[in-house]
């Protein structure tokens, strides 16, 4: 029998009204605008877009504001919104080789075509709190220089010598899988794993990536290349018969170069892990590429000995909306469930006491 209990309607209404008040905060301060969040908290916006798996800077900023800065709540809100929209189609694959580069670094080659372009990075800052940001002081215009030669992929440099495995291929005729349309099944092909990792929780992937470095499934990684910048998104429009550009999105790509694999038929080559994330999110792209490589363990005939190599463990727990849903549901009323548990534990205690008393009686009888 299932008994529904109603109640708390007024309490819930007032709680939400209180939430709105606390979200707004001190009314003597100006309210933050969506444009301000987009412009000045851009990396928070990027994280929400990446993990909600929905590219829309304004809506992600709205979600951040609505969630009072709670990132997972904001991701949840944006995920929920996407379910209300129809899907028009799938884009042509974005071409990261033609990215308008805003940052590009390599840890494997010092001098490479296009050079090391640091871009707007936190690297080499001293991580000291900056008191000038307490106020609203003038900020200098960026320096400018004549752009140099075009950048080249590091993987292409290694590939030209045959020293690295090629870009990933799927079996002939494979249609890219879509986690939002099909239930998860294991073993999961690499294209679906990459989709799951691209929307996976940054903290979870960071921890797993770190675990591989500490020896739990070591892959001997080098950052071949990280690049951040804008790429065009093109959609094939059936009415027109050709693909048209819808505009540009910013993405972060990481090519991780890992230690060798060879066989009787193939000479040793570097292996690779790949990371691609919406927005500017280097930590996430790096973590993704490390975990991607770790999850290819079986492909290279290696043993699964660590959590980061176990695809069912990694993929099933990477989604923070699913995770928070299941963890947080524990706070919802479980009154009836708990009554049943209470009855059970009382009965077990009675049985225990009866057994103990019975044992006592037996002992006495024996003596």
């Amino acid at each position: 029998m299932y008994v529904a209990v109603k109640g708390g309607e007024a309490a819930i209404q007032n709680a939400h009204r209180l939430l709105a008040d606390r979200r707004r905060g001190d009314r003597s301060l100006p309210a933050i605008t969506i444009e301000q969040v987009v412009q000045q908290l851009g990396l928070a916006v990027d994280r929400v877009m990446a993990e909600a798996s929905l590219y829309d800077r304004s809506l992600a900023a709205l979600a951040v504001r609505q969630a009072r800065g709670d990132m997972i709540e904001a991701i949840f809100i944006l995920r929920a919104y996407r379910t209300t929209l129809p899907r028009f189609g799938s884009s042509e694959p974005i071409d990261t080789a033609r990215m308008k580069i805003e940052r590009r670094i390599s840890a494997t080659y010092k001098d490479l075509p296009g050079g090391q372009l640091l871009g707007p990075t936190f690297d080499y800052t001293h991580r000291l709190l900056d008191p000038s940001l307490l106020g609203d002081g003038a900020v200098a215009e960026p320096a400018r220089k004549e752009p140099g030669e075009a950048v080249m992929r590091v993987s292409d440099i290694l590939d030209s010598d045959g020293l690295i495995e090629g870009d990933g291929t799927m079996p002939e005729g494979h249609v890219p899988g879509d986690l939002t349309r099909e239930p998860m099944e294991f073993p999961m092909p690499r294209d679906l794993r990459l989709q799951a990792l691209a929307r996976g929780d940054e903290g979870f992937l960071l921890a797993l990536a770190y675990s591989t470095q500490r020896g739990y499934g070591r892959t001997h990684p080098f950052v071949g290349e990280i690049r951040i910048g804008e790429v065009e998104v093109e959609l094939d429009v059936p009415e027109l018969g050709f693909a048209v550009s819808l505009g540009v999105i910013r993405v972060t790509e990481c090519q991780m170069v890992n230690q060798f694999k060879g066989s009787a038929n193939e000479p040793p080559q570097f292996t690779r892990g790949y990371g691609l994330v919406f927005g500017q999110s280097e930590r996430k792209a790096m973590s993704m590429s490390l975990v991607d490589r770790a999850l290819r363990t079986e492909e290279f005939g290696e043993d699964i000995v660590a959590p980061a190599q176990d695809q069912e463990f990694v993929i099933s727990h990477a989604d923070n909306v699913q995770a928070t849903g299941f963890v947080e549901h524990l706070k919802l009323p479980h009154y009836v469930d708990f009554q049943a548990e209470l009855n059970l534990v009382r009965r077990m205690r009675r049985d225990y006491e009866t057994a103990r008393d019975g044992e006592g009686d037996m002992k006495e009888a024996a003596e």
Binding site: S58, L59, E92, D191, A198, V237, G247
Partner: protein
């Protein structure tokens, strides 16, 4: 046949329209509405579809150039209009701005009308110039952060 193969040849008229649509997708509302206001003999515009907002699944490639995978979705707004001259125009752009999508559809339709095409081309030049200046500025700002390595010699010989 893959979508890449049926991509229009640059010499075809379709390629010109594709270029126009590419720029219209990146036009600001101010650019579009100003260009519309400056058209003297405005045709009557009838909506055919939308404007409506939906999603496009953005695909990436494994390893950068390998086989495709689904990266995540993006919001897209599209519209289709018919002009009193019979031209049908499609507008589609990233984001949720219905007004911009409707204008993009109108200018795509105007592009097909010989009388109005010069106005669309003027708008295209304006958008292209703005984008080029923005890209140039960003490229120069990035170039200024390029590392110039130098070697420090320590000790003697």
């Amino acid at each position: 046949m893959s979508a890449t193969e049926k991509r229009a040849d640059p010499s075809e008229p379709a390629a010109e329209r594709r270029d126009a649509m590419r720029l219209l997708a990146r036009a600001t509302l101010a650019e579009l509405s100003a260009a519309w206001d400056s058209i003297a003999d405005k045709p009557v515009v009838a909506p055919v579809r939308g404007p409506e907002t939906g999603l496009v699944m953005v695909r990436g490639r494994i390893g950068g150039s390998g086989d495709p995978f689904n990266l995540g979705e993006a919001t897209v707004t599209r519209a289709t209009v018919r002009l009193s001259g019979g031209e049908i125009g499609h507008g589609q752009l990233l984001g949720t701005d219905k007004e911009r999508a409707r204008y993009a559809a109108i200018f795509d339709a105007l592009f097909q009308s010989p009388a109005h095409r010069p106005a669309v081309e003027a708008l295209q030049r304006q958008i292209a110039a703005r984008l080029l200046a923005e890209e140039r500025r960003k490229a120069e700002e990035t170039a200024a952060t390029r590392v110039d390595f130098f070697t420090m010699v320590r000790g003697e010989d």
